[in-house]
């Protein structure tokens, strides 16, 4: 994997859009080849004012987004992808006032579809707050086909 992809492109893809920027997403490097995003805890991202726990919708957004990053990491390049579907299991309440992390693995990449598993956790990835299984539509531009068309 080339350095500019990890150092420049993945951080941009992790946090560069208006929505991910507004949510405060930060790229946190590759861990065993799997991308990680950190979301610093913020009052306005809370889902239950009685507990101070981050909103389920935020966790879903985070798991959707880290899944896309895992697909780009598997492709080792940026190509347009779109989430097809996403299932999130909420295993336990997040710890109040703690940053949340997410990590994902693309375990199967075909020319058209990528299959991903993702986890959200505070500290220990083996003690997840939530886990997701998702599929992404991949639009891989194939050089051979482009040549044939030109």
């Amino acid at each position: 994997m080339h350095d500019s992809f990890v150092d420049t492109i993945l951080p941009q893809l992790a946090a560069g859009s208006a929505h991910t920027g507004a949510l405060g997403f930060v790229f946190d490097g590759l861990h065993d080849g799997e991308p990680r995003i950190r979301v610093p805890w913020r009052e306005d991202l809370v889902g239950d004012p009685d507990t101070g726990v981050l909103a389920g919708g935020l966790v879903t957004t985070l798991l959707d987004h880290i899944g896309g990053l895992a697909v780009w990491t598997a492709m080792d390049e940026f190509q347009p992808v779109a989430t097809l579907d996403l299932r999130v299991d909420y295993m336990r309440a997040a710890h109040p006032r703690m940053d949340l992390m997410a990590q994902a693995k693309c375990f199967r990449l075909t020319p058209t579809i990528a299959f991903v598993r993702a986890w959200a956790f505070e500290v220990d990835s083996s003690d997840p707050v939530a886990a997701a299984q998702s599929a992404y539509v991949v639009n891989r531009i194939r050089p051979a086909r482009e040549e044939a068309q030109s």
Binding site: S17, T20, V46, G47, D50, G57, T61, L84, V88, Y90
Partner: protein
Amino acid sequence: MSDLLDRIPYARFLNLQTLVSGDEITVILPFADRLIGNPMLPALHGGSTAALLEMTAMAQVALAFPSPRLPRPINVTVAYLRTGRPVDVYARAAISRAGRRVAHVQAEAWQEARSQPIASLTAHFLLDNP
């Protein structure tokens, strides 16, 4: 009741607007630049649509089963059907079945036409029954 989502900081972050018509809730996600996930198309971030659907489902469960505590999601499945364009999104939810502990809810989000949903959600919520 219509102020349920106003109590939730993340719903305020998304600026969600709630309309209660009898026993049915419609939640509106007004378009804002900070919801954009793909600046090239441009398109809404799928996560903002998913969060709208989840909040709508939760509000519908809370309306049907009033409780001091918010309904807690067990799991949610979101299917993305169309690209979310940079305009307002609407969502409604229906409770398919509710037992003593668990409610099964389906929700849809749409923009111009309700017959052309941009995303659908299936979810289970834990009810706070004694």
